[in-house]
Symmetry: C2
Subunit: 351 residues, 2 copies
Amino acid sequence: MSAEAKVSVASLPIALDAAGGDNGVAPNVEGAVLAARAGVSVLLVGERVALHAELGKYPGSAALPLEIVDAPDVIGMDEHAAGVRSRSGASINVCTRLVKDGRAAAAVSMGHSGATMASALLTFGRIKGVERPAILTHLPARGGMTTLLDAGANADVKASSYAQWARLATVYLKVLEDHDNPTVGLLSIGEEDHKGSALVIEAHALLRALHGKGINFHGNVEGRDIFLGTTDIVVTDGFTGNVVLKLAEGEARVMFGWIRDALNSGLKSRLGGLLVRGSLRGLADRMDPSTYGASILIGVRGLAFIGHGSANATAVKNALLRASRAHEGKLLPRLEVAFGEGAAPLVGTEA
Amino acid sequence: MSAEAKVSVASLPIALDAAGGDNGVAPNVEGAVLAARAGVSVLLVGERVALHAELGKYPGSAALPLEIVDAPDVIGMDEHAAGVRSRSGASINVCTRLVKDGRAAAAVSMGHSGATMASALLTFGRIKGVERPAILTHLPARGGMTTLLDAGANADVKASSYAQWARLATVYLKVLEDHDNPTVGLLSIGEEDHKGSALVIEAHALLRALHGKGINFHGNVEGRDIFLGTTDIVVTDGFTGNVVLKLAEGEARVMFGWIRDALNSGLKSRLGGLLVRGSLRGLADRMDPSTYGASILIGVRGLAFIGHGSANATAVKNALLRASRAHEGKLLPRLEVAFGEGAAPLVGTEA
């Protein structure tokens, strides 16, 4: 590949659904400004006038690699994802089309997750060999983080999907985290091979057969292993994965509330609380979902990142940086190679 | 009922599988001594000589309502649960037989959970109208605790089981926690009625139809609601429930480790740590599974409680107290009434 080609690849902007999310344009525009200052070009997709006004609050933003793309419509957080099919002017559809047309490297949205998934799937299609795209996300863990998928795209799955997701996540960690040979655990209710639901036992056999063929299969892991960081990747169905993700967030939130209460109970604790506040803040940051910014919808033929509706500017910025790294690391072509000719067949893919 | 009958019911002892668990007889005997001091009679079931020796360490234990029942065999933590069928002298089988024969009020074991479930199911049978017994457990939550089932007895389930479990748990909370009309949430991946796997959507319809008929159905809840305490009861399949339970324990454990590290990072934090230690210990106790002692296997025709293999004496004691309260509160007859003639039919039970 020529030097020009490389430069042009790296300079392709990220399309941000600037209207998406619980808090509207403000955190999106601020996140885009932060990302642009860090060298990432961004297309702000949304209602032109509102975006101009918001952008005007940042002195010097005119000099940043930011551009507004008008999209008059937005799919609200409480609307049906099916709206994606008919509303071509909706900001998320404009984002995915920019990617499809080669004018943007990736689509990023903090808006309606179902709509983002639907838009990406309809516009990009699936990578050949991938039956069902999955949401890949990260959870904090002892020693770093655990990569979990599917975090909610597929409530009902087939055994073959687990193997495909394991392979997709393996390539993802190689590209995004420089992880050479990440380990894969299958979430179950016992470490022994025969433990689990009928579906998980079937998936176990498929993953076992693929060990060493693009997947470094560790075996079954249990709920506790996600935070213990037993494996780099944990594969599970989208129902369990979504419960895991939301439980983990809920537990952290409630525990922090209890810690706060404990540090306010009496003079001694309050004094101690002042002294430990700084070091506990590091822990809070570690548990904060905005650290990773967004989850990727993996398995579609285009880059799409889906964030929390409540995302703040830091989360938006981190999502944009992550999307840019995925593009620069050629994640998509590398995923296609992993599923292309010459790749080890995924046993049972046709099942 | 006569006063004598009441006394005889209350004085029926609890059969403790004193050989079960990761740490052998020591925590079991200590827990039994603590429970006996609190007024609960206990049959210590296990190898007679070893139990005598252990009991001898507690001065005055001869005066307590403790009795040893010899059981030469024990099903080890790493053996197959199927062993229960042939090994009639195994401590857990002796415990459940004591209950079946009317010589004990309940069986309690910190040993092999699969073996305990199998032994209880084989010896007691199921309550009429209950297809699959479930493990009912408690998790700490904002404002108290959340009761979760199934925590791992059934990896594969039918929609009808959710409704049966909701009813069982409702009666359980009425008897054990004086809870008048506990709310029931169905664990799913969205609050809307149509969100979830095909199975969960079917279960939702059944629960909705039973609202007001012995079940106070709130609707779907998500992973985060378990710690937020949105409903008193959360019903889910045994695969998801087991993942939830172990994830919650693992996250709490890892977070406490990080808190400990944070309170040891630098002089200022260390000093503050000394001041807040006391109030943080209250939080640690709250997250400690030994508070509840054990989970009940609900739906069988006898009382069986299953604890953590790593249970300490406090957990054993609390399990024994809980078992005694379940018996005194006539949990089993009340569960049978809830499923007996005159009870609202559980739609789809025959499905």
